[in-house]
């Protein structure tokens, strides 16, 4: 975009133009062929009347009082009903020129521009929501055409309802400059909408995944903010039918109200006001509810009461908003004190919005200061920055939450795994200890005792008793430890196990090995033996099976246990539970193996255990 020197200066100037601009020297705007862009307020005086004087005419001029106003924009106070300004346009070029007066405030009620033509007033154009005429662009504008070398006097006339202050910029530009600026604004607004929509999508996704109301609240805030900014930038004037343009203002009022409320509530949550400033939080919430209810009540239900005391109510409203923003700023700083890292981002984003809001309120209520850039209001930029920062911050927060959760979950799983492993290992050790104690020590001693006795007394009954005790000890010892694994290997131990089971159970068990290594290490053998034992117990207890196939396969780098039964099977969902299966899982994990379990009702169960052997 081409900006000449003069224009740059003007933008910088208007950027920080606080109310102390020097008074205009005269009321003439003179222009040549070059582009120009001027702030009308620098050239005119405002004359106001507190009564509505009816249709404007030059003979009523003495009913208006001149206003000594140093603001850089047009501001009509609460009690003003009608106002006018007089200005002269002079076209020094040799071609006719189109000059455009654009108004920044979208909710003008009734503004007309008259040209003094041979002593008469000629209407050049009128805009405003009360005129039931729809603009084709989002901002109000009046277009005036000046002939070559023409110099004319114009009157700008405002009609407004009392009680509502009016603050607007009026820029006088040649049509080219106007459309340039307009293009820039469109791009900026489009980007803004894109940013907000993206953030909205993002926060919705986060909400779906994390299920924290905070993100829903943020999404709500974004939506309302978009509506608010949209209506403030005048889009309601485009979208609504001409006869209900006033609804735009209602939307603006509700959305600014709601967005303030949600913004503050959201901030309360994010800034953890409950923790740091519980009292302030309560009063803030009270004020929000009060303000919202009151404003809605006045606007829609008690309109006459509102109309009578508009000024009071408006001042009250602005005050509550100021209070909320101040409270927010306090909260930001308290939060910043407690949370250094992420807090800073939050604080920055909130400060943007808080400052933007203060500026907005001060501008529209008391006309105190103005902040705009390229014809777009400060609040627009403030909220864009805020959304940017907030979304980034929330992303960081989500990252943090995920990291915490992940590390916590990992720790938990690891802990559980450790516990279970320790438990299984402890069980195994204890079994081994008790088993060998019974088997080797106590068993041996009893056998010995028996022999000692038998050499001295040859009592058949006693001998029998001794034999029974030995048998019992042996049975118990063997049921708790497969000590013979080291003697006969895994397949031998399983053979033995099957023999005892087949004695008591109505179960056909086929057991085969296929190139299964004989010298498999004892740890793995014991685990696999226990797994087979556990699976068989499950089958006997629950499966109602008649046939079981147990197979051991030796592969290149692994061994596989395959266990199939023709029982009733289990539904897939129940497979992960059960102490037995948990135990098995733990054993398999300890061996770095894999447990594959598949079962369908009435189709039997198949269990595969794959144990790597290369690195063990």
């Amino acid at each position: 975009m081409k900006i000449n020197c003069y224009k740059t200066y003007w933008f910088l100037f208007s950027l920080f133009a606080v109310c102390f601009t020097p008074l205009h020297a005269n009321d003439s705007i003179v222009f040549h062929d070059a582009r120009f862009s001027k702030n009308l307020k620098d050239f005119v005086t405002i004359n106001i009347s507190k009564k509505n004087e009816g249709p404007f005419s030059t003979d009523k001029l003495d009913r208006f009082a001149s206003l000594d106003d140093k603001r850089s924009f047009f501001y009509l106070g609460f009690d003003v009903a009608q106002a006018y300004s007089k200005f002269t346009l002079e076209n020094q070029s040799n071609t006719s020129k189109e000059v455009i007066l654009s108004f920044s405030y979208p909710f003008l009620e009734d503004v007309s521009v008259y040209k003094v033509d041979q002593g008469d007033l000629k209407l050049e154009g009128s805009v405003g929501i009360n005129l039931l005429k729809q603009g084709v662009e989002r901002t109000w504008k009046v277009s005036i055409t000046l002939l070559p070398k023409e110099r004319s006097l114009y009157y700008l006339v405002f009609n407004k309802s009392k009680g509502k202050p009016l603050a607007t910029d009026i820029i006088v530009q040649d049509s080219d400059t106007y459309y340039n600026t307009h293009t820039f604004q469109s791009v900026a607004i489009g980007s803004y909408a894109g940013l907000v929509l993206l953030s909205l999508l993002f926060t919705t996704l986060i909400f779906v995944f994390i299920k924290r109301t905070l993100f829903l609240l943020y999404g709500l805030y974004l939506t309302i903010l978009l509506i608010f900014i949209g209506s403030y930038l005048g889009y309601t004037n485009l979208l609504l039918p001409p006869e209900s343009l006033d609804v735009g203002r209602a939307i603006y009022v509700i959305s600014i109200e709601l967005s303030t409320a949600v913004f503050i509530l959201f901030a309360q949550q994010v800034l953890m006001a409950k923790k740091y400033l519980p009292k302030l939080k309560k009063s803030v919430e009270f004020v929000i509810v009060f303000q919202f209810a009151f404003r809605i009540f006045l606007h829609f239900m008690a309109n006459s009461m509102y109309a009578a005391q508009v000024e009071l109510f408006m001042k009250l409203w602005y005050l509550t908003i100021l209070f909320l923003i101040v409270a927010l700023v306090i909260e930001v700083f308290v939060y910043l004190k407690h949370n250094k890292k992420i807090g800073a981002y939050f604080a920055i984003s909130y400060l943007f919005m808080a400052i933007g809001s203060i500026l907005l309120v001060l501008y529209h209520s008391f006309g105190l200061l103005k902040f705009s850039f390229y014809g777009l209001p400060g609040i627009f930029y403030a909220s864009a920055l805020e959304v940017c920062f907030l979304t980034a911050t929330l992303t960081l927060v989500v990252g943090q939450i995920y990291q915490e959760r992940n590390s916590l979950a990992n720790k938990l799983v690891l802990q559980q795994q450790k516990f279970l492993n320790a438990f299984v290992q402890g069980q195994e050790d204890e079994r081994k200890r008790v088993g060998s104690e019974l088997h080797d020590n106590i068993g041996s001693k009893i056998s010995n005792l028996k022999r000692l006795f038998s050499t001295k007394y040859s009592d058949e009954k006693m001998q029998k008793e001794f034999d029974d005790i030995c048998e019992d000890v042996r049975t118990v010892a063997h049921s708790i430890t497969p000590a013979e694994i080291s003697l006969v290997g895994l397949s031998g131990a399983i053979d033995e196990l099957l023999e005892t089971i087949e004695k008591t159970e109505q179960l056909t068990i086929n057991f085969n090995t296929f190139q299964f290594p004989e010298n498999l290490n004892e740890g793995i053998s014991t685990h696999l033996f226990r797994i087979v034992q556990e699976l068989l117990q499950n089958v006997i207890k629950h499966a109602n099976a008649s046939c079981v196939d147990i197979q051991l396969f030796g592969h290149k780098n692994s061994v596989t246990l395959s266990f199939e039964d023709d029982g009733q099977g289990v539904a897939q969902k129940n497979t992960s539970s059960g102490i037995g299966l948990k135990n098995i899982r733990s054993r398999v994990t300890q061996m770095n193996g894999q447990l594959l379990f598949d079962s369908l009702p009435d189709k039997g169960t198949s269990v595969l255990v794959i144990i790597p052997t290369k690195y063990t």
Binding site: S436, H439, D440, N441, G443, S444, K445, I446, S447, N448, K450, R451, L452, S454, T455, Q463, F466, D467, C470, R474, A477, A483, E484, S486, L487, V488, G492, A493, D495, E496, E499, N510, N512, F514, Q515, D549, Q551, F553, G554, H555, T560, S562, E564, D566, Q594, L596, D598, L600, G604, S606, L608, I610
Partner: protein, 214 residues
């Protein structure tokens, strides 16, 4: 011929059992306990020193178990008579001791008469001595031992997967058709290949057809 008592070496890790055996064998004429050791570590020094003719061997020993000791002795062509003395009364174990060349099998809770019988048996005869109550190993089931028969014993799940494989299905399709995980199918397939001794799906199909497995 009781001129020279036969020398017995006890290999056992419980002192009380050793003491008991010593006191019982003392009463047997013709037998003498020359040494008792706790395990593998001092086995060879004792064998060299006393040159015993009978080894009373426990199976459950600290460093090397009895079976391994037996295997090693026979591997070194040591033909000392080995009499297993253990608590384990399991067919598989008895069978293993026989295949590894033991001469007899006694349970620890045997009577002194049984012990004497066993000692006499191993010193004079060549057959395997079964102690009182020791489970006799039955003749192995010829059908069960047959490698081929063993190979073609397919489980229902394996049959199902073979059917799919022979129809030319790939692992992921089989998995989804059977609603089990691909890894499960893959593992079954690997097992089947190992079992039937094939290494490709073509060989599998040929094998299945030749032997009419399905």
């Amino acid at each position: 011929m009781n001129d020279q008592p036969r020398k017995i070496l006890i290999c056992e890790d419980h002192q009380i059992v050793i003491d008991g055996l010593r006191s019982i064998i003392q009463d047997f004429s013709g037998f003498e306990v020359v040494d008792a050791i706790n395990g593998y570590s001092n086995l060879y020094s004792s064998l060299e020193k006393y040159e015993p003719s009978i080894l009373l061997l426990d199976l459950n020993l600290p460093q090397k178990n009895g079976l391994e000791i037996l295997q090693e002795l026979r591997g070194k062509n040591n033909d000392i008579k080995v009499l297993i003395l253990t608590m384990y009364n399991k067919k598989t174990i008895v069978n293993k001791t026989i295949t590894h060349g033991a001469n007899g099998f006694l349970l620890k809770n045997c009577s002194s008469e049984d012990l004497l019988d066993a000692l006499n048996h191993v010193s004079k005869e060549s057959g395997f001595y079964y102690g009182e109550g020791v489970v006799k190993s039955t003749k192995p089931d010829p059908l069960k031992e047959d490698e081929f028969y063993k190979r073609i014993q397919l489980t229902p799940r394996e049959k199902e997967i073979i059917k799919y494989l022979c129809d030319g299905n790939k692992v992921p399709d089989i998995a989804s058709a059977m609603s089990i995980s691909p890894l499960t199918v893959e593992t079954h397939k690997k097992n089947i290949y190992r079992k039937l001794g094939v290494d490709s799906s073509i060989k599998l199909v040929t094998f299945v057809h030749e032997n009419q497995l399905l």
